[in-house]
Symmetry: C2
Subunit: 170 residues, 2 copies
DNA sequence: TTGTCTGCAAACACTTTGCACTTTT
DNA sequence: AAAAGTGCAAAGTGTTTGCAGACAA
Protein backbone atom coordinates (compact mmCIF):
# COMPACT_ATOMS: atom_id res chain seq x y z
CA UNK A 1 0.00 0.00 0.00
CA UNK A 2 1.50 3.27 -1.07
CA UNK A 3 1.07 6.38 0.95
CA UNK A 4 0.75 9.58 -1.00
CA UNK A 5 3.32 12.21 -0.24
CA UNK A 6 1.89 15.44 1.02
CA UNK A 7 -1.71 14.33 1.02
CA UNK A 8 -4.04 15.59 3.65
CA UNK A 9 -6.94 13.41 4.46
CA UNK A 10 -8.84 12.05 7.37
CA UNK A 11 -9.97 8.52 7.82
CA UNK A 12 -12.09 7.76 10.76
CA UNK A 13 -10.18 9.81 13.26
CA UNK A 14 -6.64 9.92 11.97
CA UNK A 15 -5.41 13.03 10.20
CA UNK A 16 -2.58 12.55 7.83
CA UNK A 17 -0.55 15.22 6.19
CA UNK A 18 3.01 13.96 6.23
CA UNK A 19 4.52 11.16 4.23
CA UNK A 20 5.56 8.18 6.29
CA UNK A 21 9.15 9.16 5.77
CA UNK A 22 8.52 12.65 7.05
CA UNK A 23 6.43 11.43 9.89
CA UNK A 24 9.16 9.05 10.95
CA UNK A 25 11.86 11.69 10.70
CA UNK A 26 9.75 13.93 12.90
CA UNK A 27 9.29 11.16 15.41
CA UNK A 28 13.00 10.45 15.50
CA UNK A 29 14.01 14.06 15.82
CA UNK A 30 11.54 14.65 18.59
CA UNK A 31 13.40 12.04 20.58
CA UNK A 32 16.94 12.98 19.74
CA UNK A 33 17.26 9.94 17.55
CA UNK A 34 19.03 10.13 14.27
CA UNK A 35 17.76 9.95 10.74
CA UNK A 36 20.12 7.39 9.34
CA UNK A 37 20.40 5.89 5.90
CA UNK A 38 19.20 2.54 7.21
CA UNK A 39 16.15 3.94 8.90
CA UNK A 40 15.20 5.83 5.78
CA UNK A 41 15.71 2.82 3.60
CA UNK A 42 13.44 0.82 5.82
CA UNK A 43 10.61 3.34 6.05
CA UNK A 44 10.71 3.92 2.34
CA UNK A 45 10.75 0.30 1.49
CA UNK A 46 8.01 -0.56 3.90
CA UNK A 47 5.84 2.33 2.77
CA UNK A 48 6.01 1.33 -0.85
CA UNK A 49 5.08 -2.17 0.06
CA UNK A 50 1.88 -4.11 0.21
CA UNK A 51 0.02 -4.98 3.36
CA UNK A 52 1.38 -7.64 5.65
CA UNK A 53 4.94 -8.76 6.16
CA UNK A 54 7.30 -10.00 8.81
CA UNK A 55 10.84 -9.03 9.75
CA UNK A 56 12.54 -11.89 7.93
CA UNK A 57 10.63 -11.12 4.76
CA UNK A 58 11.60 -7.49 4.87
CA UNK A 59 15.20 -8.39 5.53
CA UNK A 60 15.17 -10.69 2.55
CA UNK A 61 13.77 -7.99 0.31
CA UNK A 62 16.35 -5.51 1.44
CA UNK A 63 19.04 -7.98 0.59
CA UNK A 64 18.03 -7.79 -3.07
CA UNK A 65 18.37 -4.06 -3.01
CA UNK A 66 21.38 -1.93 -4.07
CA UNK A 67 24.25 -2.50 -1.69
CA UNK A 68 24.07 0.92 -0.10
CA UNK A 69 20.49 0.52 1.08
CA UNK A 70 20.82 -2.60 3.10
CA UNK A 71 20.30 -2.99 6.78
CA UNK A 72 21.25 -5.77 9.13
CA UNK A 73 18.85 -7.99 10.98
CA UNK A 74 19.21 -6.19 14.30
CA UNK A 75 18.66 -2.85 12.64
CA UNK A 76 15.57 -4.11 10.90
CA UNK A 77 14.12 -5.34 14.17
CA UNK A 78 15.05 -2.16 15.97
CA UNK A 79 13.58 0.02 13.27
CA UNK A 80 10.35 -1.93 13.02
CA UNK A 81 9.87 -1.45 16.74
CA UNK A 82 10.41 2.26 16.34
CA UNK A 83 7.95 2.43 13.51
CA UNK A 84 5.38 0.77 15.68
CA UNK A 85 6.10 3.30 18.40
CA UNK A 86 5.81 6.06 15.85
CA UNK A 87 2.39 4.81 14.86
CA UNK A 88 3.43 3.93 11.33
CA UNK A 89 3.03 0.21 11.72
CA UNK A 90 0.80 -2.12 13.59
CA UNK A 91 2.21 -5.34 14.93
CA UNK A 92 0.40 -8.58 15.50
CA UNK A 93 1.49 -12.08 16.29
CA UNK A 94 0.51 -14.94 14.03
CA UNK A 95 1.90 -18.43 14.28
CA UNK A 96 4.48 -17.29 16.71
CA UNK A 97 6.10 -14.58 14.70
CA UNK A 98 5.39 -10.88 14.44
CA UNK A 99 3.52 -9.61 11.40
CA UNK A 100 3.37 -5.93 10.54
CA UNK A 101 0.95 -3.84 8.57
CA UNK A 102 0.51 -0.18 7.83
CA UNK A 103 -1.16 1.85 10.49
CA UNK A 104 -0.58 5.38 9.33
CA UNK A 105 -3.59 7.04 7.86
CA UNK A 106 -5.54 3.83 7.91
CA UNK A 107 -8.75 3.25 9.71
CA UNK A 108 -8.70 0.67 12.45
CA UNK A 109 -9.69 -2.74 11.26
CA UNK A 110 -9.60 -6.41 12.13
CA UNK A 111 -8.89 -9.60 10.26
CA UNK A 112 -10.30 -12.80 8.99
CA UNK A 113 -7.47 -15.32 9.05
CA UNK A 114 -7.72 -18.30 6.78
CA UNK A 115 -6.21 -21.32 8.48
CA UNK A 116 -6.04 -22.99 5.08
CA UNK A 117 -3.83 -20.56 3.21
CA UNK A 118 -2.80 -18.08 5.93
CA UNK A 119 -4.45 -15.28 4.01
CA UNK A 120 -5.51 -12.22 5.98
CA UNK A 121 -8.67 -10.42 4.96
CA UNK A 122 -9.33 -7.05 6.50
CA UNK A 123 -12.63 -5.74 7.68
CA UNK A 124 -13.88 -3.15 10.04
CA UNK A 125 -17.02 -2.78 12.00
CA UNK A 126 -18.20 0.18 14.01
CA UNK A 127 -20.66 -2.03 15.75
CA UNK A 128 -17.82 -4.12 17.00
CA UNK A 129 -16.13 -1.13 18.54
CA UNK A 130 -19.38 -0.10 20.11
CA UNK A 131 -19.74 -3.48 21.76
CA UNK A 132 -16.13 -3.48 22.82
CA UNK A 133 -16.54 -0.19 24.60
CA UNK A 134 -19.78 -1.22 26.21
CA UNK A 135 -18.22 -4.36 27.58
CA UNK A 136 -15.15 -2.51 28.79
CA UNK A 137 -17.32 0.02 30.56
CA UNK A 138 -19.21 -2.75 32.30
CA UNK A 139 -15.94 -3.97 33.74
CA UNK A 140 -14.70 -0.49 34.62
CA UNK A 141 -11.94 -1.02 32.14
CA UNK A 142 -10.55 1.65 29.85
CA UNK A 143 -10.13 0.18 26.37
CA UNK A 144 -7.16 1.51 24.46
CA UNK A 145 -7.47 -0.80 21.51
CA UNK A 146 -8.16 -4.34 20.62
CA UNK A 147 -7.14 -7.18 18.42
CA UNK A 148 -9.68 -9.44 16.82
CA UNK A 149 -8.83 -12.32 14.60
CA UNK A 150 -11.57 -14.47 13.20
CA UNK A 151 -10.21 -17.83 12.21
CA UNK A 152 -11.76 -20.01 9.60
CA UNK A 153 -11.60 -20.87 5.94
CA UNK A 154 -11.80 -18.54 3.02
CA UNK A 155 -13.97 -19.44 0.10
CA UNK A 156 -10.99 -20.68 -1.91
CA UNK A 157 -9.94 -23.09 0.79
CA UNK A 158 -13.39 -24.34 1.54
CA UNK A 159 -13.39 -26.65 -1.46
CA UNK A 160 -10.67 -29.29 -1.20
CA UNK A 161 -10.59 -29.31 2.58
CA UNK A 162 -11.31 -32.53 4.35
CA UNK A 163 -8.08 -34.41 4.98
CA UNK A 164 -5.80 -31.76 6.36
CA UNK A 165 -5.96 -30.68 9.95
CA UNK A 166 -6.69 -27.10 10.74
CA UNK A 167 -4.75 -25.69 13.62
CA UNK A 168 -5.66 -22.89 15.89
CA UNK A 169 -2.70 -20.68 15.79
CA UNK A 170 -2.77 -17.16 16.97
CA UNK B 1 -11.77 -29.67 17.49
CA UNK B 2 -12.88 -33.17 18.20
CA UNK B 3 -16.30 -33.77 19.59
CA UNK B 4 -16.50 -35.92 22.64
CA UNK B 5 -17.74 -39.42 22.25
CA UNK B 6 -20.67 -39.97 24.52
CA UNK B 7 -20.68 -36.51 26.04
CA UNK B 8 -23.93 -34.80 26.48
CA UNK B 9 -24.05 -31.21 25.75
CA UNK B 10 -26.12 -28.32 24.71
CA UNK B 11 -24.88 -25.19 23.07
CA UNK B 12 -24.67 -21.86 24.67
CA UNK B 13 -23.69 -23.01 28.08
CA UNK B 14 -21.95 -26.26 27.56
CA UNK B 15 -23.10 -29.22 29.58
CA UNK B 16 -20.38 -31.61 30.56
CA UNK B 17 -20.78 -35.13 31.73
CA UNK B 18 -17.24 -36.44 31.86
CA UNK B 19 -14.48 -35.25 34.11
CA UNK B 20 -11.52 -33.72 32.32
CA UNK B 21 -9.51 -36.75 33.24
CA UNK B 22 -12.06 -39.08 31.72
CA UNK B 23 -12.49 -36.93 28.71
CA UNK B 24 -8.77 -36.94 28.11
CA UNK B 25 -8.46 -40.69 28.59
CA UNK B 26 -11.21 -41.14 26.06
CA UNK B 27 -9.47 -38.86 23.63
CA UNK B 28 -6.21 -40.70 24.03
CA UNK B 29 -7.71 -44.12 23.68
CA UNK B 30 -9.62 -43.12 20.60
CA UNK B 31 -6.27 -42.42 18.98
CA UNK B 32 -4.31 -45.39 20.22
CA UNK B 33 -2.39 -43.14 22.57
CA UNK B 34 -1.60 -44.30 26.07
CA UNK B 35 -2.87 -43.15 29.39
CA UNK B 36 0.39 -42.65 31.20
CA UNK B 37 1.13 -41.52 34.70
CA UNK B 38 2.56 -38.25 33.41
CA UNK B 39 -0.44 -37.43 31.27
CA UNK B 40 -2.77 -38.11 34.16
CA UNK B 41 -0.73 -36.02 36.51
CA UNK B 42 -0.87 -33.16 34.10
CA UNK B 43 -4.62 -33.28 33.40
CA UNK B 44 -5.38 -33.60 37.07
CA UNK B 45 -3.13 -30.80 38.08
CA UNK B 46 -4.34 -28.51 35.36
CA UNK B 47 -7.98 -29.28 36.08
CA UNK B 48 -7.67 -28.44 39.73
CA UNK B 49 -6.01 -25.22 38.86
CA UNK B 50 -7.16 -21.69 38.37
CA UNK B 51 -7.61 -20.06 35.03
CA UNK B 52 -4.59 -18.95 33.08
CA UNK B 53 -1.11 -20.38 33.07
CA UNK B 54 1.82 -21.08 30.81
CA UNK B 55 4.00 -24.15 30.30
CA UNK B 56 6.89 -22.95 32.44
CA UNK B 57 4.55 -22.16 35.30
CA UNK B 58 2.97 -25.57 35.16
CA UNK B 59 6.34 -27.22 35.02
CA UNK B 60 7.42 -25.29 38.05
CA UNK B 61 4.35 -26.32 39.98
CA UNK B 62 4.83 -29.95 39.08
CA UNK B 63 8.36 -29.73 40.39
CA UNK B 64 7.00 -29.05 43.88
CA UNK B 65 4.86 -32.14 43.70
CA UNK B 66 5.64 -35.64 45.05
CA UNK B 67 8.47 -37.16 43.09
CA UNK B 68 6.32 -39.73 41.34
CA UNK B 69 4.05 -37.18 39.74
CA UNK B 70 6.56 -35.12 37.88
CA UNK B 71 6.87 -34.69 34.19
CA UNK B 72 9.69 -33.30 32.13
CA UNK B 73 9.54 -30.17 30.09
CA UNK B 74 9.11 -31.93 26.75
CA UNK B 75 6.31 -34.04 28.16
CA UNK B 76 4.55 -31.01 29.54
CA UNK B 77 4.69 -29.31 26.18
CA UNK B 78 3.57 -32.43 24.37
CA UNK B 79 0.71 -33.01 26.75
CA UNK B 80 -0.52 -29.44 26.67
CA UNK B 81 -0.72 -29.70 22.91
CA UNK B 82 -2.77 -32.85 23.23
CA UNK B 83 -5.09 -31.25 25.70
CA UNK B 84 -5.69 -28.43 23.29
CA UNK B 85 -6.45 -30.97 20.59
CA UNK B 86 -8.75 -32.76 22.97
CA UNK B 87 -10.67 -29.56 23.56
CA UNK B 88 -9.74 -29.38 27.22
CA UNK B 89 -7.61 -26.30 26.93
CA UNK B 90 -7.57 -23.18 24.89
CA UNK B 91 -4.27 -21.68 23.90
CA UNK B 92 -3.48 -18.07 23.25
CA UNK B 93 -0.31 -16.13 22.76
CA UNK B 94 0.49 -13.20 25.00
CA UNK B 95 3.80 -11.42 25.12
CA UNK B 96 5.37 -14.05 22.99
CA UNK B 97 4.59 -17.11 25.03
CA UNK B 98 1.64 -19.48 25.03
CA UNK B 99 -0.96 -19.09 27.75
CA UNK B 100 -3.55 -21.77 28.42
CA UNK B 101 -6.97 -21.70 29.98
CA UNK B 102 -9.75 -24.20 30.50
CA UNK B 103 -11.96 -24.82 27.56
CA UNK B 104 -13.93 -27.82 28.66
CA UNK B 105 -17.36 -27.07 29.94
CA UNK B 106 -16.70 -23.39 29.69
CA UNK B 107 -18.71 -21.04 27.58
CA UNK B 108 -16.80 -19.24 24.87
CA UNK B 109 -15.48 -15.92 26.00
CA UNK B 110 -12.98 -13.20 25.27
CA UNK B 111 -10.64 -11.08 27.32
CA UNK B 112 -9.85 -7.65 28.54
CA UNK B 113 -6.10 -7.49 28.96
CA UNK B 114 -4.69 -4.92 31.31
CA UNK B 115 -1.41 -3.62 29.95
CA UNK B 116 -0.64 -2.27 33.39
CA UNK B 117 -0.73 -5.45 35.42
CA UNK B 118 -1.15 -8.16 32.75
CA UNK B 119 -4.42 -9.19 34.33
CA UNK B 120 -6.93 -10.99 32.11
CA UNK B 121 -10.61 -10.33 32.65
CA UNK B 122 -13.06 -12.60 30.89
CA UNK B 123 -16.27 -11.58 29.26
CA UNK B 124 -18.57 -12.91 26.65
CA UNK B 125 -20.97 -11.33 24.28
CA UNK B 126 -23.48 -12.97 22.01
CA UNK B 127 -23.74 -9.78 20.07
CA UNK B 128 -20.09 -10.02 19.30
CA UNK B 129 -20.48 -13.46 17.83
CA UNK B 130 -23.44 -12.28 15.82
CA UNK B 131 -21.35 -9.51 14.29
CA UNK B 132 -18.46 -11.84 13.70
CA UNK B 133 -20.63 -14.20 11.72
CA UNK B 134 -22.27 -11.43 9.77
CA UNK B 135 -18.90 -10.04 8.75
CA UNK B 136 -17.58 -13.46 7.85
CA UNK B 137 -20.62 -14.12 5.71
CA UNK B 138 -20.08 -10.86 3.86
CA UNK B 139 -16.63 -12.04 2.91
CA UNK B 140 -17.77 -15.54 2.03
CA UNK B 141 -15.62 -16.78 4.84
CA UNK B 142 -16.52 -19.63 7.18
CA UNK B 143 -15.73 -18.61 10.75
CA UNK B 144 -14.55 -21.42 12.96
CA UNK B 145 -13.70 -19.34 15.96
CA UNK B 146 -12.08 -16.10 16.92
CA UNK B 147 -9.79 -14.45 19.35
CA UNK B 148 -10.51 -11.03 20.73
CA UNK B 149 -8.33 -9.22 23.16
CA UNK B 150 -9.25 -5.77 24.29
CA UNK B 151 -6.22 -3.98 25.60
CA UNK B 152 -6.35 -1.19 28.07
CA UNK B 153 -6.14 -0.44 31.75
CA UNK B 154 -8.14 -1.98 34.53
CA UNK B 155 -9.58 0.23 37.19
CA UNK B 156 -6.76 -0.59 39.59
CA UNK B 157 -4.11 0.49 37.17
CA UNK B 158 -5.86 3.59 36.03
CA UNK B 159 -4.76 5.55 39.07
CA UNK B 160 -0.98 5.89 39.21
CA UNK B 161 -0.48 5.68 35.45
CA UNK B 162 1.15 8.54 33.68
CA UNK B 163 4.86 7.98 33.45
CA UNK B 164 5.19 4.41 32.30
CA UNK B 165 4.77 3.41 28.72
CA UNK B 166 2.12 0.92 27.77
CA UNK B 167 3.06 -1.53 25.13
CA UNK B 168 0.81 -3.27 22.71
CA UNK B 169 1.72 -6.84 23.04
CA UNK B 170 -0.47 -9.57 21.74
C1' DT C 1 33.36 16.42 18.53
C1' DT C 2 29.83 14.02 20.77
C1' DG C 3 26.75 10.84 21.35
C1' DT C 4 23.83 7.77 18.66
C1' DC C 5 23.67 3.86 15.42
C1' DT C 6 25.22 -0.07 13.12
C1' DG C 7 26.67 -4.77 12.42
C1' DC C 8 28.60 -8.70 14.18
C1' DA C 9 28.40 -12.45 17.05
C1' DA C 10 26.54 -14.23 20.89
C1' DA C 11 22.77 -14.56 23.96
C1' DC C 12 17.86 -15.13 24.59
C1' DA C 13 13.23 -17.25 25.75
C1' DC C 14 10.28 -20.49 24.45
C1' DT C 15 9.43 -24.68 22.17
C1' DT C 16 10.54 -28.84 19.60
C1' DT C 17 13.29 -32.99 18.33
C1' DG C 18 16.50 -37.22 18.05
C1' DC C 19 17.33 -41.04 20.42
C1' DA C 20 18.09 -44.78 23.90
C1' DC C 21 15.48 -46.40 27.53
C1' DT C 22 11.05 -47.17 30.08
C1' DT C 23 6.28 -48.12 30.33
C1' DT C 24 1.59 -49.17 28.91
C1' DT C 25 -1.17 -52.27 26.50
C1' DA D 1 6.51 -58.69 23.22
C1' DA D 2 5.17 -54.74 20.62
C1' DA D 3 4.24 -50.07 20.34
C1' DA D 4 4.11 -45.74 22.24
C1' DG D 5 5.94 -42.48 25.80
C1' DT D 6 9.57 -40.43 28.49
C1' DG D 7 13.62 -37.69 29.66
C1' DC D 8 17.86 -35.93 28.41
C1' DA D 9 20.51 -33.09 25.81
C1' DA D 10 20.72 -30.68 21.80
C1' DA D 11 18.72 -28.20 18.09
C1' DG D 12 15.41 -24.81 16.48
C1' DT D 13 12.71 -20.47 15.99
C1' DG D 14 12.24 -15.66 16.07
C1' DT D 15 14.07 -11.82 18.43
C1' DT D 16 17.27 -9.13 21.41
C1' DT D 17 21.75 -7.50 23.29
C1' DG D 18 26.86 -6.18 24.27
C1' DC D 19 30.19 -3.91 22.20
C1' DA D 20 33.72 -1.78 19.01
C1' DG D 21 33.84 0.75 15.16
C1' DA D 22 31.02 4.01 11.92
C1' DC D 23 28.43 8.00 11.41
C1' DA D 24 24.79 11.82 11.98
C1' DA D 25 24.23 16.19 14.25
Amino acid sequence: MTMAVGTDFSLGTVQVSLSPRERFAEFLQARGKRVTRQRQTIVDHVSSRHEHFDAEQLLEELRRTPAGSRASRPTVYRTLAEMVEAGLLRKMVLDGRAVYEHDYGYPQHDHLYCTGCQKLIEFSSDELVRIRDAVAAQHRFRARGHRLIVMGLCIDCRSARSTSRHQDRV
